[in-house]
Structure formats: C-alpha cells, structure tokens
C-alpha cells in the first residue's frame, strides 16, 4: 500500500518534470527554438540569458500577457512582440519557467507554485 502510494507519487513528479518541457514545445519552441537559442538579433535567446535571472518576478506575467516594446537581453536590444499565452494556467507557467530556468545552460532558482500565483496576481494592467 505504502509502496503503491510512493510509486504513484513518483510517477506524478516525473510527469510534472516533463510538463514544463511539453508546455515549452507547444508554446515557445517554434520561436525560441528547441535549444532556446532564439533567432539572431530578432528573437531573444533563453539559453544563457541574463534576463531570466534579472526579471524573475516579472516572467510569469510576461508569459501570460506577452511582450510589446523593446527589451535588452545579454546586451542586445530586441523589439518584436511576443504573443500572450493567456490560456496557460498558473501551474503550467510554473512548470514552464522551472524548465527554462534550469535548462539551456541556465542555473537559476526554481519557482514554487505559491510564488507564481502571487506574481500573477499583480500583472500590470494595460
């Protein structure tokens, strides 16, 4: 019984790890590329990106609302709108961001669900 519960739990965690990658492939990879390299000068990289660490708190809202206007990543300016991903739930955004923050050469802190939900409450109103 205990073993069964443990197996189920492990299964659950394993699935959740893949969840971030799945959400990435479905929503982000066609522009940011499978390896997070982006498109030179046009679409900013997620790989080894300073922006991810410096905008940790803003990222959940940026994913949900998209970006309009200029941003600077690793010293290079980009100015191309990113479409919003309004349909993503908070848990999907958390898994997605944890995937990005810990892959593509990034070694940043993971988010807790609580954290992501909190940040999403204060998204800027346009």
């Amino acid at each position: 019984m205990g073993l069964g519960a443990l197996t189920t739990l492990t299964q659950c965690f394993t699935d959740k790890q893949n969840e971030g990658q799945r959400v990435y492939a479905a929503n982000c990879a066609s522009c940011h590329m499978d390896d997070g390299s982006g498109l030179r000068g046009v679409i900013p990289p997620l790989a080894n990106s300073d922006y991810l660490a410096s905008h940790r708190k803003q990222l959940p809202c940026l994913v949900r609302q998209g970006i309009n206007g200029e941003i600077t990543v690793n010293g290079i300016s980009y100015n191309r709108p990113m479409p919003p991903a309004e349909k993503l739930r908070a848990d999907e955004i958390a898994n997605l961001l944890n995937y990005i923050q810990t892959n593509f050469g990034n070694h940043n802190d993971r988010y807790t669900m609580q954290e992501v939900k909190e940040y999403l409450q204060y998204c800027p109103q346009y």
Binding site: S30, M33, L39, R40, G41, V42, N79
Partner: protein, 228 residues
C-alpha cells in the same frame, strides 16, 4: 495550429518532387564525366521541330518567369539581379508565429556559409505585403545583421507574390483560421542562373538544410564549366 497544415502541404508536395528528382537523376547523372549533378525540377515539355529536314527534340524546363519586387533598401529586385548567380528563395512573413523563425535560423546558416561568395544570393518574399513594408523588412534584416546586397527581403504586389510562389512550387495562402492568418510551405528552393529549380529542401529541418549547403557547390561548379 497551422504547423500541421504546413506539414501536410509538405507531405503532399515533397514525395512528388522527390520522385521526380529520383527519376531525373538517372538521366542527368550520366553526363559524361560521372560528376554528380542536380536535376532540373518541375514539369518539362518536349517540343519537336525540324532542322534541315531532321526532327529534333527540344526539352523545355519549368522556368521562373520574370518578376520585379522591391527589397529592404527600396531597390528593385528582378531576374537580372540573379542572372548567372545561384540563389535560395523562400516565402515568409515577419510576424509569423509558427515555422518562420526556424526557417530564418536555418537560412542564416546558409548565409553565414556563403557570406563571402558573391555568386550565391538569398531571396525571401513576404506573403504579407500589407504589413511587411520596406521599412519593416529593413528593420528585420538589420536586426538579423545581414547584408542587403546578399540577402534580399522583398515585398510587392500581393497577387504577383502569390503567383510567383506557385511558380517556385511553394504553397502559400491567406487563412484567417491559422495562427498569424497565413499558411505557407517552409521550403527553401535552390535556383540556378538559368531560372531553373534545382533543389527543394525543408527549411525547418537542419539535416535537409545541410544537404542544401552541400548542393550549392554543385551548381557553382556547373557555372564554372559554362564559363570555359
């Protein structure tokens, strides 16, 4: 997503072209020296004519018709721009949220490889000329950091662009239901100095683009032979 429709375009067209390529290889491959050559793709017609009382067969190949578009420097780009050059062409739009970024990443590889070879040019047509003005294309190409004499991003009359896409055998269409409102094939077409299509590649597949990069020298070699 319209990715699927792009893929299905591809799966319809690709076997056909691949097959014709395969069939043609047999003929062209035997051109004496045993050197590898690229087939001429597309429909062909055999026309008979009389020369000194003898019947001679002429084969006419699918030829890219005359065109005139405007590039990111407001310069006119026509067939003459590509006379005696080898060029790679594709169809895209700058706000495309699906396969275009991947295509542009791959086309950049071709650009980087042949940056210093003035016989190789690139030609990207927008299929959204209403949005993709000269200024938008200029901004796009400058951000990519590519030279406008090497890589022409062109816009022009909508119908002319869609008509020429058909000639290049690339499916494009407006589609209000698709992401970004357009669907189009992610093909790169390789064109020789005689306006013939010599190769078709999936611009979203790095392995296929490797093939393109390797095929270009075969056309450049033909060119050298012609000069002699």
């Amino acid at each position: 997503m319209n990715r699927n429709s792009n893929k299905s375009f591809f799966s319809n067209l690709f076997p056909m072209l691949a097959l014709s390529a395969l069939l043609l290889y047999g003929c062209n491959g035997k051109s004496g020296s045993g050197e590898q050559t690229l087939p001429i793709l597309g429909e062909r017609q055999v026309v008979e004519r009389q020369v000194n009382g003898q019947t001679v067969e002429d084969t006419t190949y699918l030829t890219i018709p005359s065109f005139a578009f405007v590039d990111q420097d407001s310069q006119q780009v026509t067939n003459q721009t590509f006379d005696n050059k080898v060029y790679v062409t594709d169809f895209f739009f700058t706000t495309c949220p699906t396969i275009c970024p991947k295509m542009k990443t791959q086309l950049l590889r071709v650009y980087d490889k042949y940056k210093d070879d003035s016989d190789v040019l690139l030609l990207s047509h927008t299929i959204d000329p209403e949005h993709d003005s000269v200024a938008v294309l200029k901004d796009f190409s400058e951000r990519l950091g590519v030279s406008s004499t090497k890589w022409h991003f062109v816009t022009g009359d909508r119908d002319s662009i869609y008509a020429i896409a058909e000639k290049y055998l690339v499916p494009v269409q407006e589609d209000a239901g698709a992401a970004g409102n357009f669907t189009h094939g992610g093909h790169f077409m390789l064109i020789d100095g005689n306006r013939h299509i010599r190769g078709v590649y999936d611009g979203t597949d790095p392995a296929d683009v490797d093939q393109l990069i390797n095929d270009i020298p075969l056309l450049l070699k033909e060119k050298q032979h012609e000069k002699k």
